[in-house]
Point group: C2
Chain length 262, copies 2
């Protein structure tokens, strides 16, 4: 265990002077697989508690770029939809550190190293970023603090450190409200997909079922779907069409907000 910590301390200790104090970023990275929305989470060393991927902001780095860096380092992907959604600045964020089992273990361990100890024990204001990623393309990589990096379904979220559950909830609220302004399908589905795939995705987000016939008509009417050749299904039913997105049209629609009622 202890050599894990050696690796853990050193990079942070070297970096601290190059970081902005009091500010951090946390990313809620959403994916979709097996008809489930999922969030990319990290499991911290020793305490075993889960956390959102996050990081600090370098003195010579844009806030947005810090989030982008965290995102790339965890997913291995660079061209991903990423947007700031809320900044969390309550005092409780730091006071809870003393009683949060996951965070406390981290703090206690660092008591030896005054510099790092004071740094992580500090009050941080964190800007939350919202990201959409195609799970199939990602290669989840743990950071120096964690032993695992995994996709967890939002219907079965573990207890997260600090206020990370709150941050996640706020991100999901954001998803619901901003539905018509986010590249949901384009970001979460593979290149080719069926109309049912798309509908199931929206149903997962909205938490309710939609009328198949009307969904199809309205989606097609938007003009952002390109119908491909048929799919060989292997299932005991009519083979559905495959679709892909016309990116130009999709992006244009998002500008004004897709006029879609669900």
């Amino acid at each position: 265990m202890s050599d894990n910590f050696e690796k853990l301390i050193s990079p942070l200790e070297k970096e601290i002077d190059d970081l902005l104090p009091s500010i951090s970023v946390d990313c809620v990275i959403l994916g979709y697989k097996n008809q489930q929305l999922k969030v990319l989470l990290l499991q911290w060393k020793h305490s075993g508690k889960w956390a959102l991927p996050g990081g600090f902001v370098r003195r010579n780095e844009n806030l947005d770029d810090a989030a982008q860096r965290v995102l790339e380092q965890r997913t291995g992907l660079s061209k991903i939809f990423l947007k700031q959604f809320h900044t969390f600045g309550s005092l409780e964020r730091s006071t809870i550190k003393q009683i949060d089992a996951g965070y406390k273990a981290l703090i206690d361990f660092h008591k030896q190293n005054k510099k790092v100890y004071e740094w992580i024990n500090n009050r941080f204001i964190s800007t939350g970023y919202f990201a959409l990623a195609d799970i199939r393309k990602t290669h989840p990589i743990p950071d120096a603090f964690s032993q695992k990096c995994e996709w967890k379904p939002i219907t079965a979220m573990p207890d997260l450190i600090l206020d990370h559950n709150t941050i996640t909830e706020k991100a999901l609220d954001y998803l619901g409200v901003q539905l018509n302004y986010l590249p949901i399908g384009l970001s979460l589905l593979p290149q080719k997909f069926t109309m049912q795939d798309l509908q199931k995705l929206y149903e997962a987000i909205l938490g309710r079922s939609l009328d198949r016939s009307n969904f199809q008509r309205k989606m097609l009417k938007l003009g952002m779907l390109v119908r491909k050749e048929k799919l060989m299904t292997g299932a005991a039913n009519k083979a559905p069409y495959l679709y892909s997105f016309n990116r130009a049209v999709y992006k244009k629609l998002l500008q004004e907000g897709i006029g879609f009622s669900y």
Copy 2:
């Protein structure tokens, strides 16, 4: 002039140790009068440049409370709609300080006092807050840095320091997008108002004219307006009804978003 600066420096110098480094808040406070949307601005001493009301965050203060404090100190009002809308964290925010005429004058003046000089010359990440205030009730008060505090129409915004013009634009975008979730009428109009007042307000925000008949019907259908006795107008036309809001219904509608298309 110089005694102005004495007053200016001293409060900040004392406060610095009690403030979070690198973080500030800026408030875009909107009001409505004479059929115009207005923003509350401060005119800085010596340089004469205009700026958004802003401030720093105390070590023992919630981020939201810091914004609330700024808002109260400038307007004299406490119960005002206030909401965070975006956090500005680009590097240019600080690099521009050296060439921004308004900010440079401030920096230059403080060269004597190392502590304050380093503080204001630092890189800050600023969280923008959006507020709605009834102009008639406010008592604009300049802060220690400024000589004036005035309402300026958004159609004739002066050049603001740093990225404050950008922040204002983003706030107005936010207003447009969040229209159905913001207590526009309740916050910006006096207790009693005519249907035309309400319509003109929405027209000012949307930047286009609306059909009188349809506006009235849709607004009344929402059930959040209470019709009062007639108004003595003094104009050469039929006297219009006066309305006020049913706050309970209004608040409830805002929860789900007023289902209103304009």
